[in-house]
């Protein structure tokens, strides 16, 4: 709580410090959140948005079908650029997921009350982002029907995966991440599912929510066990925030390619992941609170705090960029020095400057509180950072490969229609899942918001 200092009486400070607007009771919180799912009619806006997203998702399905029919040659990859959009998108999506886990697990352990109203949909975002990310390592292989070779199953051939390869570490990191995120999300949903079961008037909804609520009756014993389980899962999810993207960064830092072989990658990738993840949470939260009149629950304090996290992680990322360059020059290694020259003056230098503009220069406006509390500025900023983080992965993955050791083996990369359709298709999948989630499940945790009502009344 920010109480205790002399400025607390200022109405403006109080407005910015609220995690829930005044005047709410247990009943109004429950009504407001549950009504989005149970009683509000499906709006035209929802239908229109879902239709667009669903169409794009079908584009993804079509692109994958064509990919499996023809082969990865429909993409712009070649020798020497063996990894293109697929890996860029994979890293980008996985990174986006990290904010959800940070909000739901780390901020929970740190007892940050402002996480409460955003954790549910941020976790949903994590799950959907991991789903989008998980598609790419599978479909980017030349023979996706053989991709199960990467799992350590008891094979009659007696062959195991090759455990020195970072791609195998990815398999474990991403599958663990997906499993823990899904569990954590579901456990958090149980009391709310019971609320929906009790309030639903439609028989089918009662049965479905009833089955998902797993017999929750809200007894003291239930709550006791639920809270231990939730705490334990938060503890389990916390190291994943750091480990998953560190492992992803090993795909590059373990390799010998100049521009990949960099020890700063694990912390810099984790910071970048949280950076892009918070940007995505804002991209979702701002339209969501507007469309469903949730400004009381997702307050200016939430938006401002997320902006502060973006500013902080953005500075860590800037530090990473700086030291990537510094160490390349300081090493005196001619290939690393050449890489720096290529980033600044090579054929793809415009991407690098766009990346610096999006990720480092523009977000500096977040130093100003006026900007941090301006919803329109925050929304634009979140989109800019999403683009910037995508460019970062593009610069690292693709551009490093265009010119490495031997000039005779240099190449150029040109994405094809299918590169774009697959990427845009995953955006469609992500948004479709979000639309369905908002319509079918409480986007804000009802049970946890009720706890906040209590504390805010004490405070007022």
């Amino acid at each position: 709580m920010s109480a205790g200092d002399t400025h607390v009486n200022s109405p403006e400070i109080q407005r910015l410090a609220r995690v829930i607007e005044p005047g709410h009771s247990y009943a109004t919180v429950t009504d407001k959140i549950a009504s989005i799912v149970l009683t509000r009619p499906t709006s035209l806006g929802w239908l229109a948005g879902f239709s667009i997203a669903f169409t794009l998702m079908m584009v993804l399905m079509g692109s994958i079908a064509w990919l499996v029919t023809k082969g990865v040659g429909i993409w712009g990859i070649n020798i020497p650029i063996g990894w293109g959009f697929a890996i860029v998108n994979f890293v980008w999506w996985i990174g986006i997921g990290h904010a959800g886990t940070l909000i739901s697990a780390i901020l929970f352990l740190l007892n940050q009350k402002w996480r409460t109203s955003i954790n549910r949909f941020a976790e949903a975002m994590t799950l959907f982002a991991v789903a989008c990310a998980g598609i790419f390592p599978l479909i980017h292989t030349g023979r996706p029907w053989m991709a199960y070779y990467m799992f350590p199953y008891p094979s009659t051939m007696g062959i195991w995966p090759q455990f020195r390869s970072p791609l195998i570490w990815d398999v474990f990191a991403v599958s663990t991440y997906g499993t823990v995120s899904a569990l954590f999300w579901f456990v958090g949903l149980i009391p709310d599912l019971a609320t929906l079961r009790d309030r639903a008037t439609n028989k089918a909804a009662q049965i479905i929510y009833g089955m998902l609520a797993m017999g929750w009756r809200g007894s003291a014993r239930h709550w006791h066990r639920y809270q231990s389980a939730y705490l334990l899962l938060a503890g389990l999810a916390t190291p994943l925030v750091l480990s998953v993207h560190s492992v992803i960064s090993f795909d590059f830092s373990i390799a010998i390619v100049p521009g990949w072989h960099t020890t700063v990658f694990p912390p810099y990738f984790v910071a970048g992941a949280i950076y892009s993840g918070f940007a995505m949470v804002l991209t979702i939260a701002i339209p969501l609170r507007k469309a469903y009149d949730l400004e009381d629950f997702i307050t200016m304090r939430h938006l401002e705090n997320m902006a502060k996290v973006m500013l902080a992680t953005g500075l860590i990322v800037a530090y990473g960029y700086f030291f990537e360059f510094f160490m390349s020059l300081y090493s005196g290694n001619k290939f690393d020095v050449f890489l720096v020259q290529q980033r600044l003056h090579g054929p793809y230098s415009s991407y690098y400057y766009a990346l610096i503009l999006c990720n480092i220069l523009t977000p500096q406006v977040l130093w100003f509180q006026k900007m941090r509390t301006n919803v329109a500025v925050l929304f634009v900023m979140s989109l800019v950072i999403n683009v910037g983080m995508w460019l970062e992965r593009f610069v690292i993955v693709v551009i490093s490969l265009t010119r490495d050791f031997m000039p005779s083996a240099w190449g150029r990369y040109q994405p094809t229609f299918w590169d774009w359709s697959t990427f845009i298709g995953t955006l469609g999948l992500f948004v479709s899942l979000l639309f369905l989630f908002v319509r079918a499940l409480p986007a804000i945790s009802i049970a946890e918001m009720r706890e906040l009502v209590h504390t805010s009344e004490d405070h007022e």
Binding site: I79, W83, G142, S165, I256
Partner: protein, 225 residues
């Protein structure tokens, strides 16, 4: 071609005008008309400490006991990580199905000892592993008491060695100091490509020593290494 040509031995070309930087080379510079040319065939270097082997998630590229860097086509799932990590970029990938499997007349054309290329699989120079194995089998058959008689120096002839009219390519067991290849490798002008990366390539090159008549030397200005 978009970087998808499937040859396993790339011929690198280098040109030397004797000028140091690009700024020194305006288009009308007469020295550009007749640069000194160099070329270097670059197949898979069969590295001892191979960067490709460490990153393959399924162990589709592995070391043989004889030191070959073997490619196991039917284990490869096509992540292309090996190619990304190859400093020489000598691996080739079947981005699409490049081979015609249907036309019956083409089936007779193919070498029965070599796997037919299929989509989504990485390929590279194998040091003609099928020829090595043929010679090994012959040596075993001609041996006594079930033991191989041993492979003689020069008995294995790789396809590139066979095709090279100037006999610039020599293949043999580098562990035997009396072999042709070991004697050549013992020369001072023997060098590794990108040796500083410590991949320890098994293919090595001999630097060309040129000593042309000064009137014929053309644009070459520096002492040959």
């Amino acid at each position: 071609m978009r970087g998808r040509e499937m040859h396993w031995i790339r011929i690198d070309r280098y040109y030397d005008t004797g000028l140091k930087t690009q700024e020194d080379t305006p288009a009308e510079n007469p020295e550009l008309a007749n640069p000194q040319t160099f070329f270097q065939p670059v197949p898979c270097q069969q590295c001892e400490n191979a960067p490709c082997e460490q990153v393959c998630p399924v162990g589709a590229t592995v070391h043989s006991a004889e030191g070959l860097n073997d490619m196991v086509y039917n284990r490869c799932i096509g992540t292309r990580y090996c190619s990304n990590n190859c400093p020489y970029k000598v691996r080739r990938f079947n981005f699409l199905r490049f081979q015609d499997w249907e036309t019956p007349s083409l089936k007779l054309m193919r070498n029965p000892e070599v796997t037919i290329r299929s989509r989504g699989v990485m390929e590279k120079c194998t040091y003609c592993v099928q020829r090595i194995n043929n010679v090994r089998i012959t040596a075993e058959k001609e041996g006594e008491n079930g033991a191989s008689r041993g492979i003689r120096d020069g008995e294995i002839v790789t396809a590139c060695e066979q095709a090279c009219p100037s006999e610039a390519i020599v293949f043999g067991d580098a562990n035997n100091p009396n072999n042709r290849v070991s004697k050549l490798r013992a020369q001072q002008r023997n060098y590794n490509l990108l040796g500083e990366l410590n991949a320890r390539p098994r293919t090595t090159y001999l630097g060309a020593v040129r000593n042309p008549h000064p009137d014929l030397a053309g644009p070459e200005k520096k002492e040959p290494a």
